[in-house]
């Protein structure tokens, strides 16, 4: 309380006494830091985040993220819902990658109940998961470009994302919040057009990938702005619990798709791109951006493999394994998946009821954001925005 009062006192207007210049003692002139509130209404906080930055001139002395503007009580809500009813709320957490969030939740409940889903369903889940990863990285890359001042690549990214959303729309009718992946199955079968749409998309997306690289990634100004900025050392990243492109950008080869394989990821071949300090230091903003660009390409590789192996003649009902009554026995589980932002974990406790007794989410964006103060001290105010952009947060997931 006193801290708040003191701060208020500082901002109140003080009566000015004019002192003749020769009477001013240079030793008594003191400069002080300025507290700058960035957000919640600010174009580059990527949602309703407030950063309280302490600035010395333009130099960032400290920065504290203030959360909770988008807190919607997900965890408490889900205690009152039955297991399948939670899924629409899961969509609203990471609204840029809801397919992967749903996949994680469905996996957790399926593991609790010991459900085996048909192979076809697994294929569709992985296909949509990877498409979703591309869609999410497109937004991340685009808005990161926006943070550096490049407007046009942002719209190119959204143009490509549109194709992905169209595929989702054809299949399940929704463009943003799908409620598509159910416990034990899917809400709809894959739309017959999607496979051919996917083929053209892969070709088109590779062209866009090249274009974005030329226009943004290897642009001299962009490299100057992002290389050697916001360096996250590998040990700090591991200790801080970072995951996803944030961790891989620091050179740590850790991807749950490879290290803790779920679904049918072990059947596909793909690389885990890591930051190498290609144009700066390992773990700088450029590395995080570059990892996202590479993952985009890797996801396209996975999609191509799925298109080859997808059992098109398989007419299995996608809801074959959906249980009539979802009621796992007493017990608990921690299940995790690799979303576009990192390790998304669900800790579910069941007391033999139809709704989860406790549903705790370990959200990657929240943990990654907690490292922001560590990596942004000592840089300029303009760099702070870049660093925040490179973390790629989704406030829906941070606040839940």
């Amino acid at each position: 309380m006193t801290e708040v009062l003191e701060r208020k006192m500082q901002t109140m207007p003080v009566p000015v006494k004019v002192v003749p210049a020769e009477q001013i003692d240079p030793k008594r002139i003191r400069t002080e830091e300025m507290v700058l509130n960035i957000g919640p209404q600010h174009p580059s906080t990527h949602g309703v985040l407030r950063l309280e930055a302490v600035l010395d001139g333009e130099l960032v002395i400290d920065v504290v993220p203030f959360l909770g503007y988008l807190h919607r009580c997900f965890e408490k809500h889900s205690e009152a819902m039955t297991y399948p009813q939670v899924i629409p709320y899961v969509d609203r957490m990471d609204y840029l990658a809801p397919m992967q969030g749903e996949h994680g939740y469905a996996l957790a409940v399926e593991r609790m109940m010991g459900i085996e889903v048909p192979e076809k369903v697994e294929f569709i889940r992985v296909l949509f998961g990877e498409l979703q990863r591309i869609a999410s990285h497109l937004v991340a890359v685009g808005t990161f470009g926006l943070d550096t001042g490049a407007f046009t690549p942002f719209l190119y990214c959204f143009r490509d994302r549109e194709d992905i959303l169209e595929m989702f729309e054809k299949t399940c009718g929704a463009r943003l919040l799908y409620n598509y992946i159910w416990v034990g199955g899917l809400s709809h079968d894959l739309h017959p057009d999607v496979i051919s749409m996917c083929r053209t998309f892969v070709k088109k997306s590779r062209a866009t990938h090249k274009e974005i690289n030329e226009l943004l990634t290897f642009n001299k100004i962009f490299v100057e702005r992002t290389a050697n900025i916001g360096i996250l050392k590998p040990d700090v990243a591991i200790n801080g619990g970072a995951s996803g492109p944030m961790l891989r950008g620091s050179g740590v080869k850790w991807d749950l798709r490879r290290d803790d394989p779920y679904s049918i990821y072990d059947r596909f071949e793909f690389d885990i791109p890591v930051g190498t300090g290609m144009l700066g230091t390992v773990g700088d903003c450029f590395d995080r951006h570059w990892v996202r660009m590479c993952e985009w390409e890797q996801s396209l590789n996975i999609i191509e493999q799925i298109l080859e192996k997808y059992p098109q003649s398989d007419k299995t009902d996608v809801q074959k394994a959906v249980p009539k009554r979802i009621k796992p026995g007493a017990g608990e589980i921690y299940s995790r998946v690799e979303t576009a932002r990192g390790e998304l974990g669900y800790y579910l406790v069941s007391k033999d009821g139809i709704n989860p007794w406790r549903c705790k989410v370990r959200s990657p964006a929240f943990v990654n954001l907690s490292l922001l103060p560590i990596i942004s001290r000592g840089y300029l105010m303009a760099d702070l925005i870049i660093i925040l952009g490179s973390v790629d947060i989704v406030l829906g997931e941070v606040d839940r």
Binding site: L36, S44, L146, G149, A150, T152, R225
Partner: protein, 364 residues
């Protein structure tokens, strides 16, 4: 041309002081008409060019192909509430947009639109323009300080540092032209470049200048090309355009020094920015690209055609500025200063030295 205008007005209203005053006002307001007309076209150009670059259509609803959109935007801005923050320094806050606009409009007084029209024939024209564009800095600082907003303050501090720094390389580039021409009068500089594009200062200037003997002028061509590039880059920075739009970097400072402004005061800042863009482009076309001269001797070079060549050349540069804006990311403050002080000023100094040596020792 003033005489013609005066005669026209006298024939309409009869002789008298009022007719004289009126003709002076009309003569002086002509560039304002040009600015307003140009601003509407340039704003539409910005919307449409950005849209086409980004795979969009841009405004399509207001008028055919959305060509009336700038007028709709202007009407909207007139209707908007004119707000002043509670704790703002009212005098500074309210005066700032006018000072910024006046600063950019003053430059138009000395621009030679055609061989028969220049608002004021000042024999130190280019010097005058460089001087008055410094007034813009004062207005920006007033806006930033008066708004009582931290973003605005940071933006105005950045802007002042940037504009003042970049006036030096721009000035050096201008200086090399002035040294060859031997005059600061914009009309004379244009006249010197008559007779086709080989006489433009970007290609080393007129080959018939006294004492040049036609041979040494070509030596200047590479140097003047460098000078031209320096001027173009510096002018981008002076108008706060991408990649030097640091003062109003939207991703960091929301809108920089004009964050708190609304309605017509915001419109004035906007207009001043576009006027500034035109002014620097016009200066580039006068100093390096022959001003109102046609690129080929005897090709469409009637006196009134001069205005079309002049506006056309300036407008091309404005379009290039827009093109650059929607392509490049933005630099950081220290990188901006680095480019200015450690790259452009040494190069500018070198060009001035080389041009000076050639003009002094070889030209006679």
């Amino acid at each position: 041309m003033f005489q013609d205008l005066n005669d026209l007005i006298i024939s309409l209203m009869g002789k008298g002081d009022i007719a004289d005053i009126l003709s002076v006002v009309v003569y002086a307001a002509l560039p304002l008409v040009v600015i307003l007309g140009y601003a509407l076209v340039a704003i539409l150009g910005e919307m449409k060019i950005s849209a086409w670059l980004q795979d969009r259509l841009g405004p399509m609803r207001t008028g055919p192909y959305g060509i009336l959109q700038p007028i709709a935007d202007m009407l909207k801005l007139i209707q908007k509430e004119d707000t002043t923050p509670n704790l703002a320094d009212k005098k500074l806050y309210n005066a700032a947009p006018f000072i910024v606009f006046i600063g950019s409009y003053l430059a138009f007084a000395a621009l030679p639109f055609a061989s028969i029209y220049a608002g004021a024939r000042i024999n130190t024209g280019i010097f005058y323009i460089v001087a008055v564009s410094g007034i813009v800095v004062v207005g920006i600082l007033m806006a930033g300080w008066g708004s009582n907003n931290k973003y605005a303050l940071l933006g105005s501090i950045r802007s002042v540092a940037q504009i003042i720094s970049y006036e030096i390389p721009a000035g050096l580039a201008i200086l090399s032209v002035v040294m060859i021409a031997g005059t600061m009068d914009m009309q004379t500089i244009c006249k010197l470049q008559q007779g086709g594009l080989q006489n433009w200062f970007i290609f080393g200037g007129p080959k018939s200048l006294a004492g040049f003997g036609g041979n040494y002028a070509w030596l200047l061509t590479p140097v003047m090309l460098v000078s031209f590039i320096i001027y173009i880059v510096a002018s981008l920075a002076e108008t706060n355009r991408v990649p030097f739009d640091i003062p109003e970097a939207e991703s960091e400072l929301v809108a920089g020094y004009h964050t708190e402004y609304s309605a017509m005061k915001f419109a004035l800042f906007f207009l001043a920015e576009y006027a500034n863009m035109f002014a620097v482009s016009a200066i580039a076309s006068v100093l390096f690209l022959g001003g109102w001269n046609s690129p080929f001797a005897g090709f469409l070079d009637a006196p009134w055609m001069g205005a079309i060549w002049f506006v056309g050349k300036a407008f091309t540069f404005v379009m290039i500025q827009i093109w650059i804006r929607w392509t490049l990311p933005r630099l950081r403050v220290d990188q901006l200063m680095y480019i200015c002080w450690k790259v452009m000023i040494p190069f500018g100094m070198a060009t001035v030295l080389i041009v000076g040596t050639i003009v002094t020792f070889l030209a006679h």
